[in-house]
């Protein structure tokens, strides 16, 4: 009898261990771009991991509840992965948060690019601009400040990116910022019709050369190139430095998977490598997520190290000052220990 019980117990334990799933913590609710990214990647990754990947969306605190849950509750869980996005990256720079990227190992980093389009009849150099204080829009706010000056910007608070998109469709806004997938869907037809013009993007982040021309939009200048072309000189000064810092972190770390040190990260990295080496999976992911490179394993560490190099005391101070004084963010705080110098 004891034997039977012991056998059943061990079978249950074995089955439990064998069926223990991976967990992907997503600090955004279902329906958001980051949550969709997580669902697409998790479904594909399962095939290569040979185990289920349960997506756990944890909303709250502008994403901080999810990040804190990963940092504390899943600290000792070898099978929990975190998906952080560019908005979290900017929050880490500007605010005093209870978590740090430095405590985790990167597994995969996917840089992205955000495109800025204006209405064809909008004279961006001479007319004022309505700009939404939406989540994740800090680099655009800085880019426009660099190009037009803060005094020529009507900064509209309590306006989400979705509301800004509606305002653009109605013609209340003369500018829209979008990730590649949404830009292709919504705005490329307007550009083709001649009712809108792609003005600038931030470029594609590379660890060696910073922002380079995005091969998806070869005819669109980066914000820095646009400034140089327009004013005949290269940008410099506090706004430029703050812009570079905010933009490389938001777009360089647009989507990042992290695990705790000592977790099964090598298993996950190996699965990613096999997934991206498979032509069908690769094509599927590009069709869903856009044609931007994915860096995993040592390459993702190289990206993170390159990003940390950008965080100098001077740049961070400029960025926090801009957020506090111009954007009037009450939570903007300079925190020691984030900079390289």
């Amino acid at each position: 009898m004891k034997f039977i019980l012991a056998t059943i117990t061990s079978l249950i334990i074995t089955a439990g261990v064998a069926m223990a799933d991976y967990r992907l913590v997503v600090p955004s609710p279902k329906g958001t771009g980051t949550a969709i990214w997580a669902d697409v990647v998790a479904a594909e990754l399962e095939k290569y991991l040979g185990e289920r990947v349960i997506v756990e969306n944890i909303k709250g605190g502008k994403g901080n509840v999810g990040l804190e849950t990963f940092a504390e509750k899943y600290k000792d869980d070898p099978k929990t992965i975190l998906l952080a996005h560019g908005g979290n990256a900017n929050a880490w720079l500007i605010e005093d948060v209870n978590w740090s990227f430095k405590d985790w190992d990167p597994v995969l980093i996917q840089p992205y690019n955000i495109t800025t389009t204006i209405a064809a009849d909008y004279d961006w150099q001479n007319q004022n601009l309505n700009l939404a204080d939406c989540s994740g829009c800090v680099p655009e706010t800085l880019a426009w400040t660099m190009l037009k000056g803060w005094d020529n910007i009507n900064f509209i608070r309590k306006m989400s990116a979705g509301e800004a998109q509606q305002a653009w469709l109605r013609g209340d806004f003369t500018y829209i910022r979008e990730p590649a997938s949404r830009h292709i869907k919504n705005t490329v037809p307007m550009v083709d019709e001649g009712t809108a013009t792609r003005l600038f993007n931030h470029g594609m982040f590379t660890p060696d050369n910073g922002f380079v021309q995005d091969y998806n939009w070869p005819d669109t200048p980066t914000a820095v190139d646009l400034y140089t072309e327009t004013f005949g000189k290269e940008p410099k000064g506090p706004v430029y430095e703050a812009y570079i810092l905010a933009a490389v972190w938001r777009d360089g770390l647009q989507k990042g998977l992290f695990m705790h040190p000592g977790a099964n990260s090598s298993e996950v990295i190996d699965a990613f490598q096999r997934m991206m080496n498979n032509e069908d999976s690769r094509a599927y992911l590009i069709s869903k997520l856009g044609d931007y490179p994915m860096y995993f394993g040592e390459d993702s560490k190289t990206i993170m190290n390159a990003l940390y190099e950008y965080v100098t005391k001077e740049r961070l101070q400029y960025l926090v000052d801009f957020a506090a004084n111009n954007m009037e963010w009450a939570t903007a705080t300079y925190v020691e220990g984030k900079t390289v110098d």
């Binding site: 329906g31 944890i58 605190g61 509840v65 900064f155 509606q166």
Partner: protein, 473 residues
Amino acid sequence: MFEIFLFVLLGVVYGLIFGVIPTAGPTTALLTSYTFYPYFYSDPYLGVAFYTAMVAACTTGDTWSSILLGIPGSSSSTATVIDGYPLAKKGKATYALSAAFTSSTVNGLFFGSLVFFLMPVYSKLLLVFGIPEMLALNVLALSAVTFLIKGKISLGIISVLIGFILGYVGIDENNAPRLTFGFNYLEDGISVLILASGIFAVPELFDMFIGKTKLQKLESSWKQVKLGIFAYKKYWKVSLQGGAIGAIVGAVPGVHGVVADWLSYARARAAYPNRKFGNGNIVGVVGPEGANNAVHAASFVPTVVFGIPGTPFAAVILSIFYLLHFDLGSVSIQSDSDFYKYLAVGFLGGTVLVGILCVLLSKPITVLLKIPTTIYAPLILFLICWSCYQISHTYYDIAILAVCSTIGLLSKRLELNRPAILLAFILFSKIEALTIQAVSLYNVTSLLERPIFLLISFLVLTVAFTGVRYVRN
């Protein structure tokens, strides 16, 4: 054909289960069925029909809990409770349910057809309703709160203020935390689902559990079902007006479904100024139920045409459809006639199926009221806790539910106006954000050049004036 019918039916059954769970609603139904999407890889169009039928069924099914338990089936079906629950207490649950389902189904079909077949034309509404118009529409819904006040005016005003304070929780325009007491969780504000559960469901369940809720003699017969259908026939104009309100409000992203719910209730009361409401008037059921399905049908418009989800459930359905390779808002989707066909079949077929199912069940289901409440009250409480836990998957959800439940219990004991609390709560953050946006973008002169804004502003004054006169009387 059989396959489509089968998946519409499955969607209806699943949606109906979540419609019946108090306060759960279509968002919870979609979240819990999110992982089903890979089953539709072989035929994604079936997935469209399945999920759309689920939304339609949830929307109709949430009436059960509003009428039988006095707990809103979802946050946008609160108005039905006001007159529906007193009818159930009087033993006329079957009558109320039958009238509600008929109103909801007929309008779901009529306005659903209108929306799905005229979607490109319909989508222009988004372009007409700018920030000032959306602000005015939200204020109009808030002005309808005057119709909710009964008894002491001071209690009504206190209720609205409590709603405002709860809506104030979150972050201000400078990202500074407000009334969050150091909890990051609260920076996104209190969830509507949790607040609705706390102030409506838990107090009612508590009273049921201690045996305080007494239902009068139950008149459950097919005659009552017929009488319900006749009530709809008698007040079809009120239902149609409710549907029209829902069909407009639903198509405007950023305006919560609760706006249509209360505006249609206010319209029903205004249509019969000499009748008493709040004690079981069937007109107060037919009106808001007329808006119920129409608002959900219309909320597909901005989601499908522009890829802009106007409601929480639309955000979830947008991502499910994306995973099924339907990129809502794209040029490709606009030329995909099969997608529109399955969307319409799902919603309209689901509406018909659930409508028939609900009307047929409205007699036998009331037998449930004979079961001792001490048995099913804990079960419903468990389901509500589970629904709330789906929001962030943390125990914060349950902790905030406990706080909101305390507020709900106290409000009930103090005879505060709980629907007014919920309405003020939902509208506060919308009105605040839209006011900040409107002040930043417009001046008085430019506002005076907007005819729709002026028209709605005029309606605000009319509704407020009529409401105040009603309260005085």
